[in-house]
Each structure stands twice: as C-alpha cells, then as structure tokens.
Symmetry: C2
Subunit: 335 residues, 2 copies
Amino acid sequence: MTTNTQVLLAETPRGKLDESHFEIRAGDVPPVADGQVLVRNVLLSIDAANRAWMQGATYKSAVEAGQVMHGYAIGEVVDTNSPAHSVGDVVAGELGWQEYAAMDAAQVRPVGDHRPLTHHHSVLGIAGITAYHGLLTLFGIDEGETLLVSAAAGSVGSLVGQIGKIKGAHVVGIAGGPEKCAWVVDELGFDACIDYKNERLSAALRERCPDGVDVYFDNVGGPILEAALFAMNLHGRISCCGAVSQYDSPSPTGPRGVPGLIVTKRLTLRGFIAMDFPEHDAAAIADLGAWAASGQLQVVEDVVGGLEHAPQALIGLLAGENRGKRMVRVGPDPA
Amino acid sequence: MTTNTQVLLAETPRGKLDESHFEIRAGDVPPVADGQVLVRNVLLSIDAANRAWMQGATYKSAVEAGQVMHGYAIGEVVDTNSPAHSVGDVVAGELGWQEYAAMDAAQVRPVGDHRPLTHHHSVLGIAGITAYHGLLTLFGIDEGETLLVSAAAGSVGSLVGQIGKIKGAHVVGIAGGPEKCAWVVDELGFDACIDYKNERLSAALRERCPDGVDVYFDNVGGPILEAALFAMNLHGRISCCGAVSQYDSPSPTGPRGVPGLIVTKRLTLRGFIAMDFPEHDAAAIADLGAWAASGQLQVVEDVVGGLEHAPQALIGLLAGENRGKRMVRVGPDPA
C-alpha cells in the first residue's frame, strides 16, 4: 500500500449533483497515531443521505468542498496502534470515500460474524435497521391496516413493504416506471405499486388504497408526501425517513395540507434516523436475520464495483436507478 | 317565545369572511319531537374552527350555504319531551347560531354546577380542554424546557402559556401588535412575546428562545409554523391545534422544512382536537379548575352581547382582535 485513492467533494452542488462535483486523487496512506487503527475499505454504503450532507449540517456536520466524501463503510484493520482492535478485524464506521482511513479506535465497531459481509449494509445494516425502526419501533402496524411506502424499490422501501407483509398489512408501494412497479409486486410481494411517473397519484391512491392509508413510510417528501396526506385515515401515522425528492432540487415550499390535514385527521408525523433506537437494535437485527434466513424477507443488493464509480453510483441512486441496497465494492473481502 | 332569531351562512366564503356571507332571519321556534328537548341559547362559543367548517368537511360535516351556522353553545332546557332532561336544566351542545334549538336528548349534556357559566366555554370548556390536552396529554412539558405558543393572546394560547409557566417552562408567545404582546407578558406572565406583525420571526426566535424550542403549540400554521420548524430543537414536539392563518386565505403550499427538518431534527408533529381524550377530561377539568381557583391561571373572557353580533365576533376573531375566550351572549343566564 503506497497510495490511497480518495474521492473528494470538489464543489458543493447548488442543484442537480453530477460528476463534475467530485474529484478523484491519489492521496497518501495516512499515518496511524497512538490509539488509532488503519482500516482498508472493503464495502462503501451509498445512501441518499450522502447527498443531504452536502446541503449543510443535518444530523451530522456537512461535507465541505475539498474534503474526502463522507460515507459509512465496512473494512479490515490492516495496522493498529490500539489494544481495542487487532489486524484482521472487520469493522464498520465513517471511513469515507477512500481506500484507507486512519480511525480512532472508538470510531469503528466490529461487525458480527454473519456473512456475506454485504448483509451488514443491507438487511442487518443501515437499510434494515432504518426500515425496522421506522415501521415497527416508531409506530408498529396492525394486521389489515394499509401501509403505503414510497421509494418502494429502494434499499429501505423494499424492506419496509416486505416487513409490512410479514405483519399482515395491505402494502402499496410507490416507485418510478412500470418495470420497477411490476418487480415490487411480483418479486417483493407488495399488494400493489403505483407508478408515480405515469399515474395520477390521487386517483391511483384512491384505487389502490380503497380503505385509506393508516401508515405512510415517507422516503421522498415533496408531491408524494402531499398526495399521501390527502389519502391518510383518521389517526394515521407518517414515518418521516427522508426527503430524497428534495436533495437535488430543494422545493421552496412544503406540502399543502400541513398543518390543516394534520389537525383534522389527527395525524402523527415523526422523523427519525437509523441510529435513534440503539436499545432496540439487537431485537431488530434478530428479527431481520431470522426473516432473511427463512426467506420471508428477500435481501436485494446492488453492488457497484470500484471506488472510482462511487460518484456515479450516488448520482444514479438519486435518479432512482437502483433496486435494493446500493453499495460500492472498494476492495476484496478479508480472507 | 314566538320567533327564533337565527343566523344563517348565506354564502360559502371563497376568500376573506365578511358580514355579507351571513343572513339574519326571524325563524320559527321548532316543535319538540318525542325524545327531544327545546333549548334556549344562552352563550355561544366563537371559535376559529367555525370558519374552518365553512371550507368543507373537517372533523365534522361542513356548514352549507342556507343552513343555520353551526356552533357550540350553552343553554337552558325550556321544554322537554325526554326523561333525560328537565325544564331548567343547563346543557351544552351544538345548538347553532340561533335562539332556540330542538335537540335530541343525547345531543346535549348537562354542564356542571360551577359558575360563572362563561367558565364552561373558557377555562373548563373547549378552550381549557384544548390547551390542556394539546400541551400535557399529548406530549407533556418538563421544567426548564422552552415552550413556544402562537396566537398567544387567544382563548387557547393564553391558557397554554400559563399552563407552561405552572409546569416551569420558559414560555414565549407569538401575537400581533405591541399592545397584545405587552399584555401577554405583563398580565399573563409569559417570559417573552414576539410581535409577528412588526418583528422578523427568525431573528426574534433566536433572541427570545436562545436554547431553541422544545415544544411548539401551533394554532396558526403558515409562515409562523415554518419559522418554528427552523427553531425547533432535536426531538422537538409540535402540537398541531389549528391553522387559523389558513382559513381566510388558504395557502397553495405548506411550510418549507417539511419533511426535511422533521427528519434531521427527529421532530414529532401531532394533530388533535379537544374531544380526542375523553378519558382524560375529568383530570383536565380538575386541574384547570384548581389553577383558576388559586389564581395561578387567569381566565380571560371576551363576551360580545347579542346574537346579531355573532358574525362580526367571528370575523374579528379571525383578524385577531379578541383577548382570551370569545363568546356571544344570546340571552340571560338561567335564574
């Protein structure tokens, strides 16, 4: 190891993200200070939140132009100056978009023994935890209730809908394009899927959710959230997980019906992120692992090869081209 | 009793409500069918919700043009064809904007022995119950937290802020005009009050809520809700009680920051109406009554004389001219 390929955010995007906002450079492998470990990046998680971080501080500080792109990743400890981790340990943390990261020992945590490693980003990782907590820990869903899920073919949405089916709900997805919608129904087992690119949302919601919507899992915000507000039942619950429709082109306004429909329908809207319920993580991972092992939950992964393709992987994810959990393979699995 | 003065909604308003939308007529005193009582209206509650009902179905059916205006009121039973109520009983229910109403026995309920009667509309009535449940039953507030209240001089807001002070919160109101703001601080005991007509909201919120906002009690929606979203703390709670800013001139859009700020700050927004927590009403009324009796809670009432002034009373309330609970005296208290 002599060089350290790194992807920088070259320029903060003002509108749509494109490759010109990134720069790839051959950096140096960082020194390993006392109390640190050197981690070789193996699998980089690609998330819509990566784009949100460019907008400014969110639940973490912003990524500034000139910095290595922030990103959650799984890697292998290849050098250590800390008793906490040994060479060969497989760990996860904010390694960033680079081949090697020097991390304080407390900034990384060992990943469990479960393999394939990719599952620690998908069903047992941020996607699974987000889906589980956002649906079950936040609100729960009862048998026979109607669950609506946007970005239904995405990493989180594809799991949310399947968990809804496991719990006996009537599950309706929203996705872009007829192929994706067919896949959501035929492969993932949703009861129906609305193609927001080719259908009138309000009419489609009335037809596909004839009993109204009890829980809406919102990954997108914008006009889809607005349409969902009008379709919600009395005492409906909205799990606010993200606003992917807003990251590339922030809307100057919010959805109609806020707060009018919230009051008259006595809705509850709650925002959350995956890390908010650490006391429930073990239960979530146990359930998710069991459902995946039994085949009740299909784990859909979309692994792009090569760190240099990370910018395009994110740009494509924001355009909705992925199915299931997207990640970038930076290097081979540890032996 | 030979005639029954009634105020009709003559025309559904499309924009700002004015007197031309109402019509006063000398109707007939209705017959009292089997199982019904005839109620003489004494005190009519004037609420922003009266305006919302003209927009269409909300939590109740819409008021249609040509109908007697809907309205909650307290009155005296003057004739009865039901064993449930006797002549002389004082009852409350949806009597409407008229002198006499024939009501099914189950549509009215006796009001308690507490006097003055006006308190059954204010501190022990819909205003007090709304304030109590929206602040304490929905979310609660802890000592030292910052509570922000819009429409702070209004019937509900004036009570919410005072309850917040009783619970040890730092309480900041929002009201229109310097006199109202001074009154909210000097007379009601709020820690501060922002004059939304003359101050820049975002700057004023930073100054008056230096530790951010933990609970926002929203009576108004619109730009004030938007500003509050930006001022909320992590895990902040927003009690969605009404959208008075939207009733006369519905906005085609909602507040910016929905859902982005809801996600990143992990906010909870909950809509409610006063009648949502019947199992907690007795506790609420006991607390409210005790606080009013001890003087910890000032009961502010704004009683307009004469049914014919009800339209102007509602129009003025929507313009924010009232302080405390507005009602219209339709007739003298029962002997």
